[in-house]
Symmetry: C2
Subunit: 197 residues, 2 copies
Amino acid sequence: MDQAVLEASFRAYFLGLGHDIDWQYLSLSMMLHPVRKGDYLFHQGELANQLYFLHSGLVRYVGVSDAGKEFTQTFVKGPRVIGSTRAMVTGMPVLFGIQALSDVMVISYPWAEFFQQMSQDKGFLASYMAFLEQIFIAKEERESAFVKHSAERRYMDFCADYPELKEQVPLQYIASYIGITPIALSRIRQKLKLSNG
Amino acid sequence: MDQAVLEASFRAYFLGLGHDIDWQYLSLSMMLHPVRKGDYLFHQGELANQLYFLHSGLVRYVGVSDAGKEFTQTFVKGPRVIGSTRAMVTGMPVLFGIQALSDVMVISYPWAEFFQQMSQDKGFLASYMAFLEQIFIAKEERESAFVKHSAERRYMDFCADYPELKEQVPLQYIASYIGITPIALSRIRQKLKLSNG
DNA sequence: GGGATTTCTTAACCTAGGTTAATTTCTTGG
DNA sequence: CCAAGAAATTAACCTAGGTTAAGAAATCCC
């Protein structure tokens, strides 16, 4: 994939956040990271203080519990900025790894320098703010769903909200996203099948 | 409480987010909301597209499940901006209400106008961004804890992380914060008491 | 200070979802 | 196109935590 295409996609994504951005401040060159289906961009516990951009394709954020069980925090489709805000901002190791669910190409900038340069621009600040608002709101909604709804309801909501993912993504990942085991999801699906004739 | 004191506290809080702010753009006057211990600033499902500022005292964010069960999303001590980012930004009804755990005084500005005026200022944008980063990171850490640790471990972490709250806050709210019933929390406390002699 | 209310604990029982394990179906690389 | 691995289902059993209920302890307020 052509670097220029990725760069254009990156800029278009930021533009889509709603504010004009002046890229003249940016003097860094991007890094390219091809990631094969199933492989990880980085794992839980590693440092990842980069700004990553997923041009296209699908990834999931994965955490591993004390008991060694995998948990899918979220699915993300490109184009979007991915990575750990917490790790970028604090320099701490990431709480969740990122696994590619299709072959993808990711680009990165070192966050500290990137932000340092781009923070000259008000449009960039406003765009990054809009991004933070988006991801925060998504988390708030997810927390609310977890606390207020049963596993069965969360599965039905997932199917309604992400009909494409329902087809593309292995059931075990969907189960780990709604917070249950694949076995429990099978039981729920069986029950729903029966009650819908 | 004196309005001027609240206003000064509000500005000092923003300053604490790390950037100089020029308040000349702000022409709105604030509203005062006294809230008595136990009362709500607003309830789940209401509109709350205001920027609220808690000068001092303690509040909790409360959600109610489908089954009518209360759930504490977070505890917040003043001075801090409180309210729902989601409701401010989207104008949608809030997913969580805010209940005062002590008598408190809250001030507010209508978010849309406030933001419109203040977004002239780069220091304000950077400060608000820092705030969004903070609350997002807190959510990411909480999500990680929920998924990775047992209820017992979450209770021990709560005690270690918030020793003051442990004394001030009724156990039932702590239970609902770590995601279990007060009965289950009693069992855990009993077990810990025994195993520590 | 004392009755009323709320909070906390304990006990007995129940259930959603976890665990293990065996079977079937689907993918995929050669 | 087939063998081998991965994914999904089903069954039998188990357990953390929920539920109901009833006392004990703390708090509130008149």
